[in-house]
């Protein structure tokens, strides 16, 4: 058959054996109700021959139809005295299956068009769902932002501060615990407000490093609703449970 060489179609593009049969029928412009079994059977088998191997899981159905076609064809070839009812019945059953399948196939093509149209009309339903997270849906503040706003505050304080009060010796660990305690009491700390409330610059520095330490060990998180908004420090929920 010359068509098989010039016009190869991979078996994989067909949904199933009926799809392949319909394709062959359409290609030859044959009336679906009056299929020349011999011709179609030959072409069908040629398509199967293009495959080097048949994956029985996926393509067993292709073989079943092939067997059916061959069977109907063989029945037709046999000399017979009375018309074989079985052959007619098998043929008729196959035609009915093809007609039913053709309807579904056509409907599915129409649905595909509807899908295309509908996808161009955006609805709120199509907005991606909000991410499920145990954190607030804020921007996580980078170390850079934190440092910048801290040093800006400290410069301000420097100017204001006229006399230096000897700060009490305070350790990083103490300060970290203090911050966590505060966070347990009030759900969050306002970053700038917290530092400006420190007694001395020294203490503010220690507080700042404690906070960095807490962020690093993922006990707290610094967020802001958007850039230039106040930075807030939160206790991470998981860390809260752990402690």
């Amino acid at each position: 058959m010359d068509t098989s060489e010039s016009y190869q179609v991979r078996l994989e593009v067909f949904q199933g054996p009926l799809d392949l049969l319909l394709f062959l029928i359409k290609k030859r412009k044959i009336d679906i109700h009056d299929i020349p079994i011999a011709v179609i059977a030959r072409e069908y088998l040629e398509y199967l021959n293009h495959k080097e191997s048949i994956n029985l899981d996926r393509e067993a159905e292709f073989l079943l139809i092939a067997a059916l076609l061959i069977y109907i064809k063989s029945q037709m070839l046999l000399p017979r005295e009375k018309a074989l009812e079985e052959e007619k019945d098998l043929r008729q059953a196959l035609v009915e299956r093809l007609v039913d399948y053709q309807k579904i196939k056509t409907a599915s093509l129409l649905l595909k068009e509807r899908e295309e149209e509908e996808l161009q009309q955006w609805k709120r339903t199509f907005l991606p769902p909000l991410e499920e997270s145990d954190e607030m849906d804020f921007i996580e503040v980078s170390l850079f932002d934190l440092a910048e706003s801290f040093f800006r505050l400290m410069k301000q304080r420097e100017r204001e501060e006229t006399k230096t009060i000897r700060g009490k010796e305070i350790s990083l660990e103490q300060k970290m615990r203090e911050i966590v305690e505060e966070l347990k009491k009030n759900s969050y700390l306002d970053f700038l407000e917290y530092f400006s409330r420190q007694e001395s610059i020294e203490e503010a520095f220690i507080a700042f490093f404690s906070l960095l330490e807490l962020i690093k060990s993922r006990i707290v998180i610094a967020t802001q609703e958007s850039h230039f908004e106040p930075i807030k420090v939160w206790l991470r929920k998981k860390a809260y449970k752990r402690n």
Partner: protein, 182 residues
């Protein structure tokens, strides 16, 4: 007519993630007479139809939704940084139409219609909530029965199952294009 009621209805449709039915609107707007709600809704629809707006009210799965217009698709995709929305595979589309036209139906019936084992496709469609299990067939093995969902209707822009392509429509298409399309 009370402009305020119209505003309320508009905001209800706006905020609904699923098609909002007239019945549901009436329940929510309990302090207003049902006829007023209907009237206000009609006016809202008319106003959307007459004004040149980028947003439209569409009827899907028995309810109403606000949606953008197809001609704005390009820029919406650019804004949302979405190249192309996932579409259903041919296998899914075929299986869906088999179910849609023969529901309630079973896995065996669908597989027979397509002449392809449809177990996997059915599973995917269930996950996507485009079909649902409605019970078991009273036949040997009592196989599960499947139906399409409201989400299926909304997905394909249908208001009800009556909006599915009719047998006549399908017949017409089959007669129109006897040639193959690859």
């Amino acid at each position: 007519m009370d402009a305020k009621l119209r505003d309320i209805i508009e905001s209800l449709i706006f905020i609904s993630l699923e098609p909002l039915s007239l019945e549901r609107m009436k329940v929510v707007l309990q302090e207003f007479p049902a006829e007023d709600v209907e009237q206000a809704f009609k006016e809202l629809q008319e106003s959307y139809a007459s004004n040149d707006r980028g947003i439209q009210i569409i009827q899907r799965a028995g309810g109403y939704l606000l949606s953008t217009k197809p001609e704005c698709d390009l820029w919406i995709k650019r804004l949302l940084k979405m190249e192309r929305k996932n579409k259903l595979s041919s296998a899914s589309l075929e299986t869906l139409s088999a179910i849609a036209y023969h529901q309630p139906t079973t896995l065996a019936e669908i597989s027979a219609l397509r002449d392809v084992d449809s177990t996997h496709t059915l599973k995917t469609l269930l996950q996507k909530k485009l079909i649902r299990i409605v019970g078991r067939k009273k036949s040997p093995g009592s196989p599960l029965l499947y139906r399409t969902t409201d989400k299926f209707l909304a997905y394909f822009g249908l208001n009800s199952l009556d909006d599915l392509p009719s047998p006549e429509e399908i017949k017409k298409i089959l007669e129109e294009q006897p040639d193959i399309e690859e």
